[in-house]
Symmetry: C2
Subunit: 460 residues, 2 copies
């Protein structure tokens, strides 16, 4: 018999882990709902044609494909000479979703005549990526996305900043949200006649954290045959991050170029966003302008957001959330003109950081409040009745299924961190009484049977 | 550009549907927690070897297999002459879970030294089956399972009956739980020397609803070459269902056979279960003994449970939940001796029945309580502050992102069933006032800005 194992990069979540995860997802969902985002879920599987070509070549490789059912090989024509690339579309037409954004765009396109815009939706679901597993990177993980689609208003961006502040303040985790605007970089490039190099430039700048300024400049030199590119990137990096976006800073940006419509727009959007954020009086979230924030070369066209942990001495430096504005999300499915902005919370990474920093509340694991001790058939009916009444009074309770030794039953309560044992031995039963034992303090109280629930509730 | 579509048998859940689903899952989770079940989640993917051979040949066909990543065909040896059966294990080593029971058994085996038994766990997750889609049958659907593993006590079965009563009473849905015990059928067969025919007998009896008594008896005649089998099944069917399991009924069962240890055990277990259920004073759930309940030929060894809708004139006659006792669940992974009993709630079917019968509470769809009307930049800061304060007071609120015409903004609130509009025009802003409009009654109140939240809370 084979010893069972888990697929690489996947995880079981045991009850204590689940208790913490449910807490985390609860905080996220509550924040989404408080902010007026509506719930949406899409299927785990999408048609392969819905997903391919949306995440770049590398992304396509990481999509988990589902084998067609039945005699897939005969149905594919049973070709004798084949390679993976030819065979794939013949034997697979479905795949697991890779993120929540593309399925959301698909949903909006398919239901656009039923949706009231602007459409604020949240979605909390797992996604799957055939990535090489490593610390903080799993093959199945949850994304928790909030998007506002159907408006160009910057208030949407501001709302997402306030949402992130709400989430992390409720979690008790200090974070920094880095902000940039794609229009600033695009404007600078246009001004200098470097527009066609947006892609390699973004790719290079994105590696700043990993390979440092020297490395980035070297890559620019290798990839872009125009000297002004290197100077521009050097200037961009030397701007530095800034917790304000005031006149002085704006002047420093303009020192890299003159007036230019797109640059002006990016700068004015950023100023407005910083002033909105200021008037919102954020709590555990601080914002920081980062002129080198690019987040790959995806669909972002305006604001770019990225959330990092801002606590001292944390071991995880990656992002725990991110997003931005995409002016034409549904364009990938042939419906133009819907601008949106979204923010994705990386629940699994947030979980890891919170666990490391001990930020989960105490007592999450005590799911059950009372264990009714089993003394055998003589007192079974009365014990079951007390059990039933406790539950109907909203107190989570269970009865030990066997009339095992008291020590064993109390040991079970200890192991599961059940705070109260409800004891109805023959003596108690005859007198219509119950003894309630506080498992933490060891203290006991004997009360009337009907008072079991009230006594526990007062004692908690 | 291809028009996007959903894979066959899968569904999007729009915000109104999600609101109802979240309500349903909330009721289920709350009942599980009140009954002291601990949360567990397992990965969507399992190794193919974990799943195959556990659901019969037909089940194996319905498992969704995941294609290996990368150049799967070369990695498989790029064989030139192949068929699906030979190719499958070479190009797929993972699959989507088919139910929650086998992954649970795998979890218990892998973590048995860390688990405190008896282990009460609940699990609410989707499962996938490549079944032909039809009414009430989807390719992705949720199972909501509660299992108690590590005890032979019948109190575990009794607890699941009480759990089902709790769930359906809280949902307001009348249901009937059919009960049987595999030991009764097995005992009868052993007594008559028919043990070897348990499989075809179960398969035939299971079709009683579909093909009627005549059909079942014909199938028995075709498959079992012993005349006494037909007589026994005829007798079993003629016993009829019964809402009690009293002396009279027991005598009728014994009329089909004499005393026999396994039969005696089954009958005594059933008597005890009925008496437990009676003392529990069930509410919307009634129980019924059904001597023909077999639920396929799976791993059940004792009690068998099946839940059906019990409302008048409902269109869906299938089961909306079911389960039973399995004396050796973890035996499939080489670890013997752990007996368990479980009950699975079919959330998607329960949803369909509740929707048809109008059992979801009113107002689930109003996720947002207040819409702050947007009057443009002049009042933006003050409006954002009111918005922020509403949310911090726990009132779900959003601000319309654009300074559109009042009529359009109020139309948005109407469409989304947002009950209150918060109006801070320039006049109100200058006076430090806010006008709150009740969208249902049309009534308006003008109060101090700081009173916005309280006024809405009092008005709800």
């Amino acid at each position: 018999m084979m010893k069972p194992a888990l697929p690489k990069g996947t995880r079981d979540f045991s009850p204590p882990e689940m208790a913490r995860r449910l807490f985390l997802f609860g905080v996220l969902r509550e924040a989404f709902e408080t902010f007026g985002f509506l719930p949406l879920e899409t299927p785990s599987m999408e048609n392969l044609s819905t997903l391919t070509g949306k995440y770049g070549d590398e992304g396509d490789q990481l999509i988990f494909k589902i084998l067609n059912s039945g005699d897939f090989f005969s149905a594919a024509g049973g070709k004798e000479t084949l390679d993976s690339k030819t065979l794939l579309p013949l034997i697979s037409e479905k795949a697991l979703r890779y993120d929540l954004t593309v399925p959301f765009a698909r949903f909006v396109v398919m239901n656009r005549h039923l949706i009231t815009f602007p459409f604020r939706r949240f979605q909390i679901q797992p996604v799957w990526r055939a990535d090489r597993p490593q610390k903080g990177r799993y093959r199945e993980f949850y994304q928790c996305d909030a998007d506002i689609i159907g408006t160009h208003s910057l208030l949407a961006e501001a709302d997402l900043i306030m949402l992130a502040d709400e989430v992390f303040s409720n979690l008790g985790l200090k974070v920094c949200m880095k902000l940039n605007n794609r229009k600033i970089l695009s404007g600078l490039l246009e001004y200098h006649g470097l527009s066609e190099y947006l892609t390699p430039l973004c790719v290079a700048i994105d590696k700043l954290d990993k390979i440092g300024e020297e490395g980035v400049l070297q890559e620019i030199k290798n990839r872009i045959p125009i000297a002004s590119a290197e100077a521009l990137v050097k200037g961009l990096i030397s701007l530095g991050n800034s917790s304000s976006f005031d006149h002085d800073y704006v002047n420093k940006v303009y020192a890299l170029a003159g007036k230019h419509p797109m640059l002006d727009e990016g700068i004015s959007e950023m100023s407005k966003l910083f002033s909105c954020a200021e008037s919102a009086e954020l709590r555990l979230l601080r914002i920081e302008f980062d002129p080198t924030l690019a987040r790959g070369l995806n669909h972002y066209t305006g604001a770019i957001l990225e959330i990092k942990c801002d606590e001292p001495d944390f071991s995880y430096s990656g992002s725990i959330g991110g997003g931005g504005r995409y002016d034409n999300l549904t364009g990938i499915f042939g419906v133009d003109g819907l601008s949106g902005v979204g923010l994705s919370f990386g629940a699994d990474r947030i979980y890891d950081v919170m666990l490391e920093r001990g930020l989960f509340p105490e007592g999450l694991e005590s799911v059950t409040t009372a264990l009714v001790i089993n003394f055998g058939t003589a007192t079974e009916v009365i014990s079951l009745r007390v059990l039933r009444d406790l539950r109907r009074e909203g107190i989570s309770a269970e009865m030990y299924p066997d009339a095992a030794k008291m020590k064993k039953q109390l040991g079970y309560a200890d192991a599961l961190k059940i705070p109260f044992a409800v004891i109805i031995g023959e003596e108690e039963a005859a007198a219509g009484k119950v003894t309630i034992k506080n498992m933490l303090s060891g203290e006991q109280k004997t009360v009337d049977l009907e008072e079991t629930g009230n006594t526990i509730q007062d004692w908690i």
